[in-house]
């Protein structure tokens, strides 16, 4: 372990909740609720855009963090982050819970920078995404297995998305058991895994109903109303390229492919 992977000596486990809520005012989206708590701090960077800025190291082992997004019907929200999240070891497991509700006719783009699993970390990431029947979403998650040349700690990510109350996508990604990580059935030689869930603007046409495979990336039409872009890559730059390639295909209106 490198020295900077160690938690700051005076840093104690944190419990924090941050939230963003939108509402419709005169036919336009306003960010009507914005709550921050270190280390989760939001800055509004546009009319309907917020960025997470890190105001403390971590998450560290023992942290319990929660992020709630509420996108009201007819509004749109864009959530990003200014830097990647470096998950560090500490006392026990860190847990980040993200909930998001996207109302009827609303649209959410959630595309933060990657989560990097430092050596020795023990992290749980839980995402619960509830979409109204005609909600639009682009939800990207990227997990990087350690910094350069570093063996990752442990991570267990669970993603649950429902559309109109019905299950749309449920996935768990487990990282940190070398015997399984390197299995050619799971991650193989990759050092990063990423997914983007896209629910298109319009009902996808035949072109979007077919899976498409590229180098280390697949565009997978789900059984429900949505497309999953799933990618593996040797590094974070290649991962982003592969996901964006797939997102462009998945977001193309019907007939464009």
């Amino acid at each position: 372990m490198t020295a900077d992977a160690l938690p700051p000596a005076d840093r104690h486990a944190m419990r924090a909740r941050a939230f963003v809520a939108t509402s419709l005012s005169g036919g336009r989206t306003v960010v009507s609720g914005l709550g921050s708590a270190p280390p989760l701090t939001f800055r509004q960077t546009g009319a309907r855009t917020v960025h997470l800025v890190s105001t403390a190291a971590g998450p560290l082992g023992g942290d319990r963090l929660r992020l709630d997004l509420d996108v009201a019907p007819g509004t749109s929200l864009d959530v990003g982050s200014v830097a990647s999240t470096l998950v560090l070891p500490g006392e026990g497991e860190s847990h980040l819970l993200i909930t998001a509700r996207v109302g009827a006719g609303a649209s959410l783009r959630f595309a933060p920078e990657p989560t990097v699993l430092a050596a020795g970390c023990a992290h749980r990431l839980t995402v619960r995404l509830a979409l109204a029947a005609d909600a639009r979403v682009l939800w990207r998650e990227e997990i990087v297995f350690g910094r350069y040349g570093e063996r990752p700690g442990r991570c267990h990510a669970r993603f649950d998305a429902t559309s109109d109350g019905r299950p749309l996508l449920r996935q768990e990604h487990v990282v940190g058991d070398p015997a399984l990580d390197t299995s050619s059935a799971i991650y193989g030689t990759a050092r990063c895994v990423g997914t983007t869930l896209v629910t298109p603007l319009v009902t996808p046409g035949p072109a979007c109903r077919e899976a498409v495979v590229g180098d280390g990336v697949a565009v997978l039409p789900l059984a429900g109303p949505g497309v999953l872009v799933s990618a593996l890559a040797p590094d974070a730059v290649a991962l982003r390229d592969r996901l964006e390639w797939g997102e462009a295909l998945a977001s193309a209106p019907s007939g464009a492919g």
């Binding site: 299950p167 390197t182 050619s184 059935a185 899976a211 495979v213 997978l220 789900l222």
Partner: protein, 231 residues
């Protein structure tokens, strides 16, 4: 273990399982699986991801049949097959894998209805004619008199034996050595079957372990010009 489990997991059961390699053919074609150690890692990874999901669903479906039988006044169509099948769909992002699972599920259901006729199998065929394989396996296990734990074990076994024998043929590996790999996985099979949750667990919470490389392999395989196995 119920003796019917031997029949359910036997590769000679005429349910079409031999036509599927579970991604092994494409893994061999890509060079990722090329010898015994790489096959072993592939099988272990498959078992702990899609195999784990299959064990959870086979057990849940078997238990749902038992619960439905315990309530004789339950309306026709129960257990709630479409709900369970939709949960399996949500855990199978790859269309090629959904298709492979449903083909195998339909064939198994057809065989099971003749070998172990039961109202639960009839209601499944009515609600979902081509169910996901673990759903059909759970229902078939119940019809045959087996327990949810047995159904889980059968699903875990099915997750690795087909790919193992497919890879043995494609690579010309010593079949005895390949069976030794399978024997080495016995503790993992037992562990997975023991992880199966009780009937009080909501279906939404069942295992959803994903295998990104298997998804890629499945879609690549579906587009391959030459292939010996359907999946």
């Amino acid at each position: 273990m119920h003796p019917a489990l031997l029949l359910l997991t036997d590769s000679r059961l005429p349910a079409g399982g031999h036509a599927h390699s579970g991604g092994a053919e494409q893994a061999v074609a890509s060079g990722a699986v090329h010898d015994l150690p790489s096959l072993s890692a592939f099988l272990r990874g498959r078992l702990h991801t899609s195999g784990r999901v299959a064990t959870a669903f086979a057990a849940a479906c078997c238990a749902a049949c038992g619960a439905a039988r315990a309530a004789p006044d339950a309306p026709p169509g129960t257990p709630p097959w479409t709900g369970l099948d939709a949960e399996a769909d949500a855990r199978t992002a790859s269309p090629a894998q959904r298709a492979a699972s449903r083909i195998q599920g339909r064939l198994l259901l057809r065989v099971a209805r003749r070998v172990w006729p039961a109202p639960a199998l009839d209601s499944l065929a009515l609600a979902v004619p081509d169910p996901h394989h673990p759903v059909a396996l759970g229902a078939a296990a119940h019809a045959a008199g087996a327990s949810p734990g047995d159904a889980a074990l059968a699903a875990a076994y099915h997750a690795v034996t087909g790919p193992a024998t497919a890879a043995a043929r494609l690579l010309g590996l010593d079949p005895v050595e390949v069976h030794r790999l399978l024997a080495d996985l016995a503790p993992d099979l037992k562990e997975l079957a023991s992880l199966v949750s009780g009937p009080e667990t909501a279906w939404a919470e069942l295992s959803a372990h994903s295998a990104p490389a298997l998804d890629l392999l499945a879609e690549r395989h579906a587009r391959a010009a030459v292939r010996l196995f359907v999946s």
